[in-house]
């Protein structure tokens, strides 16, 4: 299953697939793993509300159901359609990002979302998916020689840093970093030479002192506190200190479901969102944490298998891009709650309470599934079947 399967019968190797074919191709194993992880989330949210579906668990379930439906719908859409509309989606995401920026400055402070009724949409979340699509499209048409030309890399770099700068200005350091890092992975996968990364990273390190000036006071403080959390046990370091206490006191097997004292007694901040991993690991211990880590690893393996199995560069890049973004989510989140990286507002994917991240992630996995369903569909340089 994880290795690329032997070539499927030739009838799949077609430009056009019927809906029936596509439904037949839905990867239920992938959906099972996503559901398993989300169920851990429901259970933890139920415990976070001290044994109540309200206010988090039930709404999270509803969102998951909607998300799965969207995911299947996205998977049904031909991969070429996504490729053709990649720049359009990117354009829409960028406009929305500008819109919240303008509205945010005029309106109430650091507003990052647009209210569209049942959900508050964060343009930065849409951008994560749109950026993967448009970069994948850009590099899909590129040959090795083109990629070797530095000038060729200017447009995708603008594509990355324009939204990243805007997100950073919101200010949302975590999302900006994720945009840059997942794009970096995509550049790497597209074949950009390693020395170019070295140059960019060296340049990036060079401008850190300049960038430091642009960080907000609380962001600076978080970085400083990260360096030494014990300096300020009741102030900004409180979060991370309490998180470590909760994790550590969970021990090997945990305190038992709904019995985590740190979370139940509110010593743990944001236990239903950013610090939900801590709560889970307090109640289920290291064993629970490893099981969850294993499920995430399984999901990554699916993503990689699909990416490698894809015939088109676009499909490969999208599948790998989504997988990497997903990895960044859970790595940054868990590393943060364990005190390995500074506190940044990155949720634990599929588990933290919150609609936008859940929907954008499932949307992304929908694209991965679409890449899986259309794995044998060859796509020309310009996004049209060139069989």
């Amino acid at each position: 299953m994880l290795r690329p399967m032997p070539r499927m019968p030739s009838r799949l190797n077609r430009t056009e697939m019927s809906m029936r074919d596509k439904i037949w191709q839905i990867n239920w194993s992938l959906i099972s793993v996503l559901t398993a992880i989300s169920c851990i989330g429901f259970a933890t949210l139920y415990s976070a509300a001290q044994g109540s579906l309200d206010p988090w668990a039930l709404r999270q379930m509803v969102r998951f159901a909607i998300g799965i439906a969207i995911m299947i719908a996205v998977a049904m859409v031909d991969l070429r359609v996504w490729m053709r509309n990649a720049y359009v989606l990117y354009g829409i995401a960028l406009v929305l990002l500008i819109a919240v920026e303008v509205k945010g400055t005029v309106g109430m402070g650091a507003q990052r979302w647009i209210d569209i009724g049942f959900i508050q949409l964060q343009p930065s979340e849409i951008m994560k998916v749109a950026l993967i699509l448009s970069l994948a499209r850009y590099f899909h048409g590129a040959g090795m020689q083109e990629i070797g030309r530095p000038l060729f890399l200017i447009p995708p770099l603008i594509m990355v840093f324009l939204p990243a700068a805007m997100v950073l200005k919101q200010p949302d350091l975590g999302t900006a970093m994720m945009l840059v890092m997942s794009s970096g992975a995509l550049f790497f996968m597209a074949g950009v030479r390693v020395w170019k990364f070295v140059v960019v990273i060296a340049g990036g390190l060079g401008i850190i002192p300049v960038a430091w000036q642009f960080l907000r006071e609380y962001q600076k403080k978080r970085v400083l506190i990260f360096m030494n959390p014990e300096d300020d046990p009741l102030g900004a370091g409180y979060h991370i200190t309490q998180s470590k206490i909760a994790l550590g006191s969970g021990g090997l097997f945990g305190k038992g479901y709904m019995m985590g004292t740190q979370s139940r007694l509110n010593f743990l901040p944001e236990k239903q969102t950013d610090f939900i991993f801590t709560m889970f690991a307090e109640e289920w211990g290291m064993m629970g944490g490893l099981v969850l880590l294993g499920l995430y690893a399984l999901l990554l393996a699916f993503g990689y298998a699909i990416a490698m199995r894809c015939r088109s560069q676009f499909g490969r890049l999208v599948a790998h891009g989504v997988t990497t973004t997903f990895f960044l989510y859970f790595f940054i989140n868990t590393a943060m709650v364990m005190g390995l990286v500074p506190v940044v507002g990155v949720p634990l994917p599929l588990i933290s309470y919150g609609g936008t991240a859940m929907l954008s992630l499932l949307f992304g996995w929908g694209l991965v599934m679409s890449a899986y369903i259309h794995r044998d569909v060859p796509i020309s340089r310009r996004g049209i079947s060139d069989d």
Partner: protein, 626 residues
Amino acid sequence: MYHDNDRSKMFSRRAMILAGGKATLMGALAARMYYLQVMEADKYAMQAEDNRISTRLLAPPRGLILDRNGIAMAVNQHNYRVMVVAEQTPSLDYTLDALGRIISVGDGERARIHKEVRRRRSFVPISVRENLTWEEVARVEVNAPDLPGVVIDVGQSRFYPLESLGAHILGYVSAVSEADLSGDPLEELPGFRIGKGGVERIYDMALRGRHGTSSLEVNAVGRVIGELERKEGEPGVDLNLTLDMKLQEYAAQRLGDESAAVVVMDIHTGDVIVMASTPSFDPNSFNRGLSGEEWKDLSTNPRSPLSNKAIAGQFAPGSTFKLMTALAALEGRDITPEMRVFCPGHLQLGSIKFHCWKKEGHGAQDLVSGIKNSCDVYFYEIARRTGFEKIAEMARRFGLGAPTGVDLPNERPGLIPDKAWKKRVLKDVWHPGENLINGIGQGYVTATPIQLATMTARVANGGFAVVPHVARDLIDEKTARGRPAPNWPSLEVSRQSLTLVRKGMFGVSNEPGGTAYRARITQEGMWLSGKTGSAQVRRITMRERETGVKKNDQLPWKERDHALFVAYAPEENPRYSIAVVVEHGGGGSAVAAPIARDIMIEVQKRDLARIAEGGTSSPPPDLRRF
């Protein structure tokens, strides 16, 4: 196609590199989990418990203070407080308005409550008013449905039901100050009170008891979720005093408005049966909080109600001191009991004339009649012969010049002067005339009423160094355990000398012409023997002697003599000693002796009644020395 194949291979290669990187990072996560949850688990588990569990101290009830017959002198009273929990009120002002219609809530209180509510978490109850009456409590309870957020809380406060009676012995309790901190965790409790005077202070540790603890589960903001464990403390030890409050009440009444003190003690056991100092004060007023005016009244009153004159009032003992002069002269063999001194009304020493209180003189006096008549000239003469050094030594043996060691704070030592003292303090030599003046208890000599009562007890019990005390069960102030029964050391004074002095004292009160004959006890078996004293507090000038010495009632209060009387009773088998000092009261025989007589009658009546019931107050056989 070649091209695409090339890209595909590179993709796979690089995917492997990135996947490897991700696997490494996930390995780092797992390692971090292992570090936090296995290697450091114990440390964090402890910190989580520290977070979760808050240990609170439970204050034990303070020990009661009872008199020798079990009459309550200090008790703990429920202190009903009305509290408000801000978060349970629709609005603080609404609730305070509603409460204000039921019990009075002042504007000042309101401001304080608002201030405290802002300072504390919203679930912490804030005291609105303390010491509610029953009626007020009932009114609040009945209206509870209309008073959201209002709770009635019961605390404990100290109450002294006898009010000013025995106040000086009891002392009072008040908040802990920085200087009082002894390391007892109870002292950290808000609202905890410790003994600040009297036996409340001396026996504070025993009265406090030991704290209990309650382990509470609290959440991050400190709200109590539930109690995990409770360990009750030990209540304070009840303290029984040797005082008899019925007699105390009688004595206080008998002293009336005078600035005076009386001490009655058991000459064998040292039990202090009465210790009154007037005027007194109500210790409850310290608990309530004194107004500025009340405090000013108490602290500036010339009759100093706050001071326990029985142990802290130092008075010239006057003629009561002659007992010491007599004993010193007899024991030093400077006189014989039969030796006579002629009193013409004065004694000439060098160029100075020393006057007797009786201008016309007493004629020939021996030891017994000298005491009976309190003849100054007789004592001038024997003091001159003996020298004050020996008299001072005798006085100290009988408990003067140093604190007696009674179990009360702030006891003063009085003063028995000598040559060394005069040289050290006054930088002067001892003049021969000072032997005479100090020998009759004037001059530098001072004593407290309890010292005088102790001195008299030691004379009456056959010369044993009895020490007075007010705690009946003789508990050690530190360990709260019983002290060994006293076995008073002998003062090494011959029985003959004591018998002679006591014969003189018998004459004072029971023979016609004795200075206290008019204040004798006539009831059979209750006779007392005593010694009067009138301590002069002003200098009588030559001119005044010529024109006639002014009588006390012609003088302003501050210039009148102190009236003193010491006595023991019953004469046959002495049991009690008494010392009465009336500050600026006038003459000892006219003022102090009648008071002593009346009190001693009451004391002996109570005692006889108890013996008739088969009580336990008769002395242990080995202490019956006479």
